[in-house]
Symmetry: C2
Amino acid sequence: MDPAKPSQELLRSLTDEHVLRALMRYRRLTRAELAAETGISKPTAGESVRRLVEAGLVVDTGQRTPGGRGRGRVGSYYSLAPDVGAALAVSIAPEGVVAESINAYGDLVARAEEPIGRPARPDDVTAALVRAVDQVRDLVEASQEAEFRASGIRPRVAVVSAADPVDRGTGRLLQLPDAPFLLGEIDPVGVLAGRVSGVVHVDNDVNWAAEAERAAMPVDDFAYVYLDEGLGCAIVSDGEVRRGRRGVAGEVAHLITVGPGGWAMPLIEVFGELGLRRRNSTAIDVDLLLEKRPAEVVVAVGGLIAALATLIDPEVVVVGGRWGTHLVEAIAGEVSRSPRPVRVRAAAVEFEPSLAGARADALHRLRELIVAR
Amino acid sequence: MDPAKPSQELLRSLTDEHVLRALMRYRRLTRAELAAETGISKPTAGESVRRLVEAGLVVDTGQRTPGGRGRGRVGSYYSLAPDVGAALAVSIAPEGVVAESINAYGDLVARAEEPIGRPARPDDVTAALVRAVDQVRDLVEASQEAEFRASGIRPRVAVVSAADPVDRGTGRLLQLPDAPFLLGEIDPVGVLAGRVSGVVHVDNDVNWAAEAERAAMPVDDFAYVYLDEGLGCAIVSDGEVRRGRRGVAGEVAHLITVGPGGWAMPLIEVFGELGLRRRNSTAIDVDLLLEKRPAEVVVAVGGLIAALATLIDPEVVVVGGRWGTHLVEAIAGEVSRSPRPVRVRAAAVEFEPSLAGARADALHRLRELIVAR
DNA sequence: CATTCTAGTCAGGGCTCTTGCCTAGAAAGG
DNA sequence: CCTTTCTAGGCAAGAGCCCTGACTAGAATG
């Protein structure tokens, strides 16, 4: 049965959920403010606060409404208890690992960055991941503010962005045949399992970048094309990132497009054909590409975007990645001359887009955990 | 706010919804059976029945529990009131129009078929649509069973399948440049608006066929490739048909694939190149194609499926349509030799797949209307 | 020091759900 | 034919949740 079973308990839990969400949003509220904010009556809101304090989810901050509000009785501010916990957001890229601890308000509690030497070997990447996460834990532990100390040491949930295809079922990084594979066979779930009390959720960095883009703009159907050392693509349909069966939707290296001379050819081979792949690596040589800016690359990407436009009918195609952002205008021009033109523009979220998406999801998951009990 | 506001009214409506859904499923139940089935207590279930009878949504059938059940007091059977209404499911294809009236149990109440002469001109199609729908209404009206008469004359919702691209916003048929366009500029919403008391929902026939396929098998991510006079493709991701911004996701005629001689070329042009398009029409000549079975067509479809596999990562690609079903094995063989093989099989729903999908959606929408009040 | 004004509580009441018991009434069995 | 058995449905009591409206506590204002 889809709809929840009707019961008084359902009502009560709904009330508590409203109160908790209001506190997540406004950080601290008096009982009266809670009632006004949630639309619940004052006695009911007060009763809910009493329950939640008893359950340890909400605390009296000790703060009182300041005189500045005018006359009247002073109110007690309540907020979420420190031990509702924190979430971990991690970005793993060839340049390095970034780990952040986020509390239920969405505040950044601690952050650590660990560079990775070139070329990135799987063991180095795993080691950097461990160092970054442990450093965040230490930072939280050393924090002066007691409220953070209790909450962040062992995150309740972790969300990881990785710059390679990720298996949707296992969370492991996946080497697809002949496609750029930047990090190697990392298993973030295994590494983090002991350091997180709950779920470790891993996904591809482009999917997270698309998630950040989605949150930043009111478009329900778009594609995010990521053009950097690796090639990536994320699909947002009906307002959600669509990952496909195994989670490798948008792994476009093998998409057949127009190659040099008009031949049909997989996208990744275009770069090989033009001598734009790094020696001893499947990665694209971005510096060389930006120096030469070959028209063939623009045409090939145009073929990719035409395929996206045809198959998923996006409102707009967002282009990101180091060389993607540089060539976005040439690509848009190429697409506008195709038989099915579609709007093309550069990504709106420019700073750490993948981490931004992972962070937003980590916050969302943490809040769900708190509300669900 | 996402979660519903807690209130006593919410509980009551949830109870009523449970009762209504149980009646939709089991057709007739006594109060005691309703309580057992929904898990709600007897007095509450009884009270809900009283409310729903008063609201006119439920009626005492007059039937009583037969002695066959053993001793004990006889119970009264309740079922949905006849005037909860019916839904209309319509399929518009070049061969003709089929219209069906469906009641809230999912029973076929009436059905009419109207052929269309070749070639199908827009006016003929619209006329056939009108005739079919009116004939269904007359059949319902003439029905001996009073219960159907009251319910089906003016459907509460209509779901239409059309064998051309459909604009998601307006429900109109959409001519895409140079793609096969079989029916012409029909406006089913305009035609049916006066004949239906509620919404008229139109979508492409391949999307509906995919919907029927989805209901028939436990797969959340697949693509449905439809190969007939027109070329179509539907994408099911995370358990739902994804239509894209305008609703023309999967209009694959212009997808770039491998053409004769290895040249990159839009899929539809492959058929022109091979002389497989009908004279004075954008449609594919299916008989000729099935006679010649050119290897180039299999290769071109293989390119389409490779693009689908790459971009949306389906668990399986389902092939339907007149020549698709005949060539499915050759296509599967071609795909299995590609660098990203994916399972390919023929569609499971063979009889009127589009109508089956539209019918299921019509039923779903009708039930939602009844439950929502 | 009286007034004003707000946070929080209390009292009363309505509604929904549940449990447990009772009644109606037909079939089964002697 | 009468008693027993057994189930559908109703009734009564009670608990829980939410709401309205009134009241109390207590600080700032003037």
